[in-house]
Amino acid sequence: MITLEHAYLVVGLMFLAFAILTLGDREHPTRIRSALFWGLIAASMLFGSWLGGLGNGILVLALVAIGGLKRLGVARPATTGPEVRMASAARRGNALFLPALIVPIVAVGGTLAAKHSAAGAWLIAPVQTTLIALGLGCVIALIAAMAWLRPPLLAPVQEGRRLMDSIGWAALLPQMLASLGAVFLATNVGGVVGELVTQAVPMTSALVAVIAYCLGMALFTVIMGNAFAAFPVMTAAIGLPFVVHQFGGNPAIVCAIGMLAGFCGTLMTPMAANFNVVPANLLELPDRNSPLNGVIRAQMPTALIMLGINIVLMYLLAFRF
């Protein structure tokens, strides 16, 4: 059976290859630090389960020091030029899309098979099935693309290293925020925030409670970069005691729309790195290092309008159904 540990092994080997090639790349602007950064992520993927809490904590300390104190450079390994690419695109036609499509097809097919068939359940572990299937899809797609295109053997690692460098430290942000969320949970930060909000805002009417809950969800999501972190805090503080219990809102509607109000916050914050910073880096936007980069600015109007619409929808629906 393919488990999460197998996926970690493959990912770890990939980062190890990135680190080794970076170390051998004399042209790399931050050769040693970048090699160390990707090498430490490789160590975390390969040996993390044996390091223990404090060992992993020290690993994080080192990663943050290397990736956070000074900017990491981007590799420019030898690749094909625009003319070669145009010629190859004309010659190979739309078949070029096929390997890229293998990834989502295997990811979705594998997830469905693991849930609904005995063979699938035998092949893929039930925990984090979609991610394991996604990893499997990437490996299959890579093998297919290598067999068909016959590039130099190291080409996928070199191209992958170039893309990984352009993502840089942002690759760690979701994992760091999830860990911060765990510390907040252990120290009951949510409970304290809830008390504070209810002291500051007098919940005199259903509308005030709905607005406070939705704005609270969006704001706390902006800070935490993740609506999942904001949801338990804000729902325990305002959603349940006021919107549901005091004013009689339907809990299913309140929670469903409250979560979506949080998503409006996700669209507006650079802390949601995998949605807002990673694409800006991948698309090489010139303002990718600014807190309000091109992706967030493109999302901002939709996010603000949707936040208003969610408030209206919750107020109109939650007390009627």
Binding site: S44, T79, A171, I223, P251, M259, M271, P291
Partner: protein, 247 residues
Amino acid sequence: MLVLLGIAVVVAGFVARINPLLVILAAAIVTGVMAAVVPGVEPRALLQAGVDTLSAFGKAFNDNRYFHITWLVLPVIGLLERKGLQERARMLVGKVRAATAGRLLVSYMLVRQLTAALGLTSLGGHPQMVRPLIAPMAEGAAEVDAGVVLPDKVRFRIRGMAAATDNIGLFFGEDIFIAIGSIVLIVGFLEQSGLIVEPLQISVWAIPTAIAAFAVHGARLLLFDRSIHREIEAGRTETAVDAEAGR
């Protein structure tokens, strides 16, 4: 009360534009140490609290390694780009006469929302879809539509809008699917609070917002086409004036 200093660290670091990795780790340690503060506490105990927090953070960090599995797609995408994947995407869209950047993104948004609502969230995404396919396609469509090479400023605006459309389609589609993470979280949370709710009861209430999101962002995308036109026109007149003035 003191544990809130952790949130203050996040906000201050954000305002001062310090690297978020440093800010997050600092916020975690501050929170953990402040939680241990009681009247008459010894400095040694606070030091111990800091070390314990680092351990707890390390354990959570290790438990959350699965975010990195998605990077496995990078070697495949890089390899295909080397062989002209982006160029092919532009060619493909260039053939469709009626395509504009906005209309193309509206259709992508619809597909993204519908597939996410069926639980197929991994069909899209930035490394696997937006960078190699959707952004180049939108750029290609805008180029054919305008009949000129796009100025860089317009090109980057289109790319930003392509990424935005992927996110918005995903966020306001996925909650309609009953087995998505956020629905599981809501059901579990309500159960802990003594309220038993079926996942389906929650997911149907994501539908009104999903429809509104399609209307709002879809309208913005169609207006986006006009705004691109205006920007290209403005750029053209400027160049013409420059040429006349002999600059």
